[in-house]
């Protein structure tokens, strides 16, 4: 669905999404990495369970919430993709971690 612009080429960064390896570019936000990797649904909503995907890409809409390194409801568009990061798509409400 999304194609990377020539200007957005950079060093490769490898992270996992739901345990699957994906390749992002240095400087990508997690949301951009998800979209580039073809992850169309990053979460389902807490009440109705409707599917959601990154939308505004600038921290406003809160649609791109995912679990990053065990912590739920992180805004994927505001977090930079780092090597080895474990991203998990979220089903409904986040857990209250210990």
């Amino acid at each position: 669905m999304f194609r990377r612009l020539h200007e957005a080429e950079g060093k490769a960064v490898t992270l996992t999404v739901d345990g699957r390896l994906i390749e992002a570019r240095e400087g990508d936000s997690v949301a951009a990495a998800l979209l580039a990797a073809g992850v169309a649904v990053c979460r389902t909503t807490p009440v109705s369970g409707a599917p959601r995907a990154p939308y505004c890409m600038m921290g406003v809409c809160f649609e791109c919430l995912v679990t990053i390194d065990g912590r739920g409801n992180r805004q994927a568009c505001l977090v930079r993709a780092e090597p080895g990061m474990a991203v998990a798509t979220q089903a409904g409400k986040r857990e209250l971690e210990r």
Partner: protein
């Protein structure tokens, strides 16, 4: 044509919040032709800002009849929620697992225990169980509490619901019963003339055989127009709401609860601030700090909103239910527990209004109690 034939409605309810809507729905179900006159979006609307507890413990010190009325409503809440769901399809998420009032110091716990002892020692006090628990006993039922929790009072009659959905359900119920709901009808004048009530707003006048004042803090202005009194004042409460998380809290706490949809609400502040419904960081941060001492795991949660709303408070903190002697057919109902008492208002108070007279049970709630001069 007689006056009663020309009349637009049997009962006009002034105020479309939880009190007015609950009574109006109850009366409409009994076949009354009901109209609800509500204000617009700029109204103070305590019913849209409340904490949604259905709470029994600690209520009624100084007026045991209030404890009995509260318990009667709480006991009827399951039936009320069932009937509301059957009528409208809305599940208002009522649960009654019992509720805790957590104490963070020995002194708080002692004061709590002493207050509840005094409450339950009152003559004519309704009987119901409650417990004073130490930290370990609380932790058995609330494993997430922090070490700062010294103890708690617990009452099995306490519960909570989704109060925004409750308001929506009552309005849906009104509609399906054929009651009229008129928004943006801030009432200017109510008067009794030729055996009926004329109710005037900027959009015109309508007539009804009976009138119920359920306008919250607006009742103070309206009541004297029909020979009643409703000495109420606004009292601010602030609320913090967090993002939604999986259920981790199975009981409502007096100052903290997890909603059916997963948010955590932190509330129960009390301030005398007139009609100022703004929030303030001082009070909010105190509330948050206490909440974290009660449940340290909350530190991981993001706050998504804060708000303030205005309770409708009398001098003694108890409700006013009254009927006018000089203007028969005029009633007033006002309280700060529109959620807890919603079942009582729909199932017990509404039939009284349909019949045309308050039952003796409610005599204690007359505003005439404020006229009694202190014993000489």
């Amino acid at each position: 044509m007689t006056a009663s034939e020309r009349r637009d409605y049997d009962l006009a309810v002034i105020g479309g919040g939880l009190v007015g809507s609950a009574v109006a729905w109850g009366a409409a179900r009994r076949g009354e032709r009901v109209v609800v006159l509500d204000e617009g979006d700029l109204a103070y609307r305590a019913s849209r800002g409340n904490f949604a507890l259905v709470w029994v413990q600690s209520k009624g010190l100084g007026m045991p009849e209030y404890a009995a009325w509260t318990k009667r409503s709480s006991d009827a809440w399951y039936r009320f929620a069932d009937e509301l769901r059957a009528a409208t399809g809305y599940d208002v998420a009522f649960e009654r697992p019992g509720g805790f009032h957590l104490c963070l110091t020995e002194k708080e716990l002692e004061a709590r225990a002493a207050m509840l002892r005094r409450l339950h020692n009152q003559p004519r006090m309704v009987q119901y169980p409650y417990e004073i628990l130490d930290h370990d006993a609380v932790a058995k039922r609330l494993p997430e509490i922090g070490p700062a929790v010294v103890g708690a009072s617990y009452c099995p009659l306490d519960g909570h619901c989704n109060s925004l959905r409750l308001l929506k359900a009552l309005h849906a119920g009104l509609k399906s019963e054929g009651a009229a709901y008129l928004a943006n009808r801030g009432v200017q004048v109510v008067e009794r003339r030729e055996g009926e009530f004329r109710i005037a707003s900027a959009s015109g006048e309508l007539r009804a055989g009976k009138v119920l004042l359920a306008a919250g803090n607006g009742n103070a202005r309206l009541a004297p127009m029909v020979g009643l009194k409703a000495p109420v004042r606004p009292q601010r409460g602030q609320i913090i709401v967090t993002e939604k998380v999986r259920r981790f809290l199975d009981y409502p706490i007096a100052t903290l609860r997890q909603t059916d949809e997963g948010s955590v609400l932190i509330g129960d502040s009390v301030e005398e601030s007139g009609f100022d419904d703004s929030v303030g960081l001082g009070v909010l941060s105190t509330m948050a700090a206490r909440a974290l001492r009660m449940f340290p795991r909350l530190a991981a949660l993001n706050v998504v909103r804060t708000w303030a709303a205005l309770r409708v408070m009398t001098k003694d903190g108890f409700p006013v239910y009254d009927q006018s002697e000089s203007c028969p057919g005029a009633f007033v109902a006002t309280c700060h527990s529109g959620v807890t008492l919603a079942a009582g208002h729909a199932l017990f108070l509404a039939p009284m209004l349909a019949t045309g007279a308050l039952e003796p049970e409610l005599a204690h709630f007359s505003a005439r109690r404020f006229d009694v001069s202190q014993a000489a």
